[in-house]
């Protein structure tokens, strides 16, 4: 068992690796397939994990982006993601982590309030993406978007760094009084 670190290995040539983390295996599988279908100049690697920390005996490549997928229809999903965050090095949160929330379209099924995940993303200074992964067209659009973010995080886009991108993606600061 080891904590994930963002710069523990030298980057492979023209390769980008993303780690999708969630307790929803089916959603992760579908999202991964959509991402691999997308045209990408870099060689794309998608790793799936249903829990953190990862076993340390396996030799794995350098991870450029971590996507935490939260299902609003399952409190278990949110609780587990909150636990997983304890096993990620702080350097990852400089633009190499994002939260992907699914299930907001059917509010009658939501057992997690949307404000909860918004606060979580705000606490960790990371962007929050909303998408209904059950719908194929939405999933394809989100996959395209994630691939683009991944290329920037891996450093394959000149002139833009991951931290710059995440600063642009983040919504305006909430008033402190509301937060308190």
């Amino acid at each position: 068992m080891s904590v994930l670190r963002s710069m523990d290995k030298l980057p492979d040539l023209n390769r980008a690796t993303v780690l999708l983390v969630s307790t929803e295996d089916a959603l992760l599988q579908q999202l991964a397939e959509s991402m691999l279908k997308d045209d990408c100049a870099s060689e794309l690697r998608v790793h799936l994990a249903n829990s953190l920390p990862l076993p340390s005996n396996v030799n794995r490549p350098r991870i450029d982006l971590i996507v935490f997928v939260i299902n609003l229809h399952s409190k278990y999903s949110l609780q587990k993601v909150e636990e997983f965050l304890q096993h990620v090095d702080s350097s990852f949160f400089l633009g190499k982590v994002c939260f992907l929330v699914t299930g907001a379209g059917q509010e009658s099924h939501c057992s997690v309030h949307q404000n909860t995940v918004i606060k979580l993303a705000h606490t960790y200074r990371s962007p929050l993406l909303l998408c209904d992964l059950q719908v194929e067209s939405f999933r394809a659009a989100m996959a395209r978007r994630l691939v683009r973010i991944l290329q920037i995080c891996a450093g394959h886009v000149p002139g833009v760094s991951a931290l710059n991108l995440m600063s642009l993606l983040r919504s305006p600061e909430n008033p402190p009084s509301k937060e308190l």
Partner: protein, 271 residues
């Protein structure tokens, strides 16, 4: 002939050497960059691992982000534009790539504009068809409008005229009917005394004048009332049978002159 061959050979050798030199230069640059990355990697691996908890996550991350952004800003300020090596082969390759990319972009723009044109043509055809249909509807409605106007005019004039004519005819018939009925009533209930008892015959023999019917008396009174309204009194004549005069006075149909008892007038029922 042998001299020409010797001249060609050295040129070829020179070109090959130039290409090899360019590639070697690029490879050297890449190797230098890779060494720099390895040095940075070694430095980074010495930094310890730090995890975050909910309590202090924001503060730590904000501090780290501030440091990183400050460092990036410094790098951008320090950065100097790299000059592409002024080598013919390198420039040629870069130029080819640039033109290739430009060609792709222009082809994409062309296809986009063509599809947009096709869409506009379809829209134009649809709008034209819609306009034609609206024109037909307008013509049809105009025809209907003129027809309705003509009918309305004819119908209105003829109808009003017919209605008025019918009313007038009805009123005239009613008037004649009333007059006949009233005349019959008077003839039945107020006959002349000629056909009555012998006593009345004696009276007739005594008087020289000839009696008139109650109908005629009333007619004289009515005509006097309307022909000479300022003096509606009628002088009692011998041709008036006294019981009928008494009848009219008793029932209030006629009034006696206040000063001259020999004159009577009709009650002003119409006022």
């Amino acid at each position: 002939m042998s001299e020409n061959k010797q001249e060609v050979h050295p040129d070829t050798i020179t070109d090959v050497e130039a290409v090899i030199d360019t590639e070697e230069e690029l490879i050297k640059e890449c190797e230098e960059m890779w060494k720099d990355m390895e040095d940075c990697q070694n430095k980074l691996s010495l930094i310890g691992t730090e995890t975050l908890t909910n309590a202090d996550a924001q503060l730590s991350l904000l501090i780290m982000q501030m440091k990183c952004l400050t460092a990036e800003l410094g790098q951008w300020k320090k950065r100097k534009p790299e000059i592409i090596p002024l080598n013919e082969d390198v420039l040629l390759t870069l130029g080819k790539e640039e033109f290739q990319k430009l060609r792709c972009d222009l082809e994409m723009v062309l296809s986009t504009i063509q599809s947009k044109n096709e869409k506009l043509k379809e829209d134009l055809e649809r709008e034209q068809q819609w306009l034609d249909e609206q024109q037909q509807i307008l013509d049809t409605l105009n025809v209907l409008n003129s027809d309705v106007e003509n009918q309305v005019v004819t119908l209105t004039e003829s109808r009003i005229f017919n209605e008025l004519t019918t009313k007038i005819r009805g009123i005239k018939e009613f008037k004649e009917k009333l007059l006949l009925t009233l005349g019959a009533f008077l003839d039945n209930h107020f006959p002349l005394p000629e056909a009555s008892t012998p006593k009345k015959r004696k009276n007739i023999q005594d008087s020289n004048a000839q009696l008139i019917t109650l109908n005629e008396i009333l007619e004289m009174l009515i005509n006097r009332m309307f022909d000479v309204p300022h003096d509606p009194y009628v002088k009692i004549r011998d041709s008036f049978w006294p019981p009928y005069i008494e009848l009219l006075l008793r029932y209030g149909i006629a009034l006696r002159h206040p000063e001259d008892p020999s004159q009577i007038r009709l009650e002003a029922f119409h006022q």
